[in-house]
């Protein structure tokens, strides 16, 4: 019964939304606009469910002293503070902003920067011209990298033009192919859902 109802809702809303995009008919457009307005509310609840699930996983880690459980304590403290402070004083509050700027910004920027160091190491160890395809990929990658920075032009004046050609002709042709193929694939999945052939989103495993 529950699965059947969910299936009917998905099919009706799916077909309605698709028609809404192409057909200008107030009797169809108005209810579909209303359904779209519900989405932010549904998504907000999804965030609450996600946060509750995360807290629950880490609560169990702390209770059972599993692995690096002390990290779960840090997560609990920081997350609870963020939620309570944010709800009580708003996210525009000075203390909240201070913590955002000096904890989250600093730590996430550091994590991103560490990626550059790993890139240096992997460039040395993994990027090998083991065959013709890999050699072409490496050479074009190196040219595009140099074309993106002023030193590329300083090394050889033609590098930016070659880099632009790779990006605008070869890359764009490939990207268009990927976009069109994934678009067709996406449409196929949508049609299957709307016709009721694909029910995996209902959790039935079919």
């Amino acid at each position: 019964m529950r699965t059947g109802l969910a299936l009917v809702i998905a099919v009706v809303v799916g077909i309605g939304m698709t028609l809404d995009y192409f057909v200008k008919l107030p009797a169809l457009n108005n209810p579909m606009a209303e359904v779209r307005n519900w989405m932010p509310i549904v998504t907000s609840f999804a965030v609450i469910v996600g946060a509750a699930g995360l807290l629950n996983v880490h609560r169990r880690n702390i209770q059972r002293k599993r692995g690096a459980w002390y990290n779960s304590v840090v997560l609990w403290v920081v997350m609870m503070w963020t939620i309570v402070w944010g709800i009580s004083f708003g996210t525009a509050d000075k203390t909240y902003t201070f913590v955002f700027d000096n904890v989250l910004t600093s730590s996430s920027t550091t994590l991103s920067a560490v990626g550059a160091l790993y890139l240096g190491s992997s460039a040395f160890r993994a990027f090998k011209a083991t065959n013709v395809n890999a050699a072409v990929l490496l050479a074009s990658g190196a040219v595009v990298m140099l074309a993106q920075v002023p030193i590329g032009e300083a090394i050889y004046g033609g590098i930016p033009a070659i880099g632009d050609w790779i990006m605008n002709i070869l890359n764009t042709a490939g990207q268009r192919g990927i976009m069109i193929a994934s678009g067709i694939g996406f449409m196929t999945v949508c049609v299957r859902i709307m016709l009721g052939y694909n029910r995996s989103y209902l959790g039935s495993g079919q």
């Binding site: 307005n37 989405m39 993106q148 300083a154």
Partner: protein, 280 residues
């Protein structure tokens, strides 16, 4: 053990230190390499330059603080231009950290005399991903009831004539791609394609190649890609800032990475005969 065998087994920490030094030196002592302005950057600059004073522009900060070092210079350069032209700026975000990023980007302009609610406003986060954006395009108040500071939208002077996305003269998303709900593809699908309104993608370098087809198909007004675009935009404004300062460091980083690729390949090929004969 010959030199190349030793090179293959070099400690990763030595590579990390070399990378850090290569990036740090130009930051301390900038080289100031000359740079030409790409047509794509000029295209965005010229479009904004032609907008009449008082035009309304929304800018969506769809990135977290982790992508800040690459995208903040771009946000600053574009905001600088918008404020310099006397345009009204409406900040918003499709990811939860976005409004805080917007606030930190707008704060320097507030200190320079721009007034919240008169020159700019931060509308905060809108939930709902692609469907939320589609709803926002039709009726902003249905998706965003209050601004970042908790003020109802109807109490904001700047929101008086703003109801839907077509009320803006230009839209910009400063976007780091996957991870947020409003990816560049989502914005392009829901805004410029549907409403035919001017729209600019300002992306980190890694997202730029996948969005070039939108520019070539003229589905978007312009595309700013990576730190280089930020530096170029600063040059257009004749106000070199953080973007231009970081270009030397990026030059050094790219050269070091390419040098590592070359060294790694020399080591690989010099040891290949040994590897084939079972010597390694």
């Amino acid at each position: 053990m010959n030199f190349w065998t030793k090179m293959q087994g070099v400690d990763a920490r030595i590579i990390y230190i070399l990378m850090m030094v290569a990036i740090a030196i130009p930051l301390v002592k900038p080289i100031g390499l000359p740079m030409r302005i790409m047509p794509t950057t000029l295209q965005v600059f010229e479009f904004i330059e032609k907008l009449p004073s008082g035009s309304k522009v929304y800018i969506s900060f769809d990135y977290g603080p982790g992508q800040g070092p690459e995208l903040n210079p771009m946000s600053t350069a574009v905001l600088n231009h918008l404020f310099k032209k006397g345009l009204k700026v409406y900040a918003m975000a499709s990811i939860t950290e976005g409004p805080m990023v917007a606030q930190s980007m707008l704060a320097p302009f507030e200190q320079q005399g721009k007034v919240y609610g008169k020159d700019f406003v931060n509308l905060g986060f809108f939930a709902g991903g692609e469907a939320g954006l589609a709803a926002l395009c039709q009726d902003i108040r249905k998706v965003i009831a209050r601004d970042f500071k908790g003020t109802p939208l109807d109490q904001l002077e700047m929101m008086k004539d703003i109801n839907k996305i077509t009320d803006f003269a230009l839209g910009v998303t400063v976007n780091s791609g996957p991870g947020g709900y409003g990816t560049p593809e989502v914005w392009v699908r829901q805004v410029p394609i549907v409403y035919k309104t001017p729209f600019v993608l300002a992306l980190n370098a890694v997202m730029t190649p996948s969005s070039l087809p939108f520019l070539q198909a003229k589905q978007i007004t312009g595309l700013l890609g990576g730190l280089r675009a930020a530096a170029e935009y600063e040059l257009c404004l004749k106000q070199p800032g953080m973007g231009a300062a970081l270009m030397d460091a990026q030059s050094a980083a790219h050269v070091v990475i390419i040098a590592f690729i070359i060294l790694g390949n020399i080591a690989y090929f010099s040891l290949r005969p040994k590897r084939r004969s079972g010597g390694i």
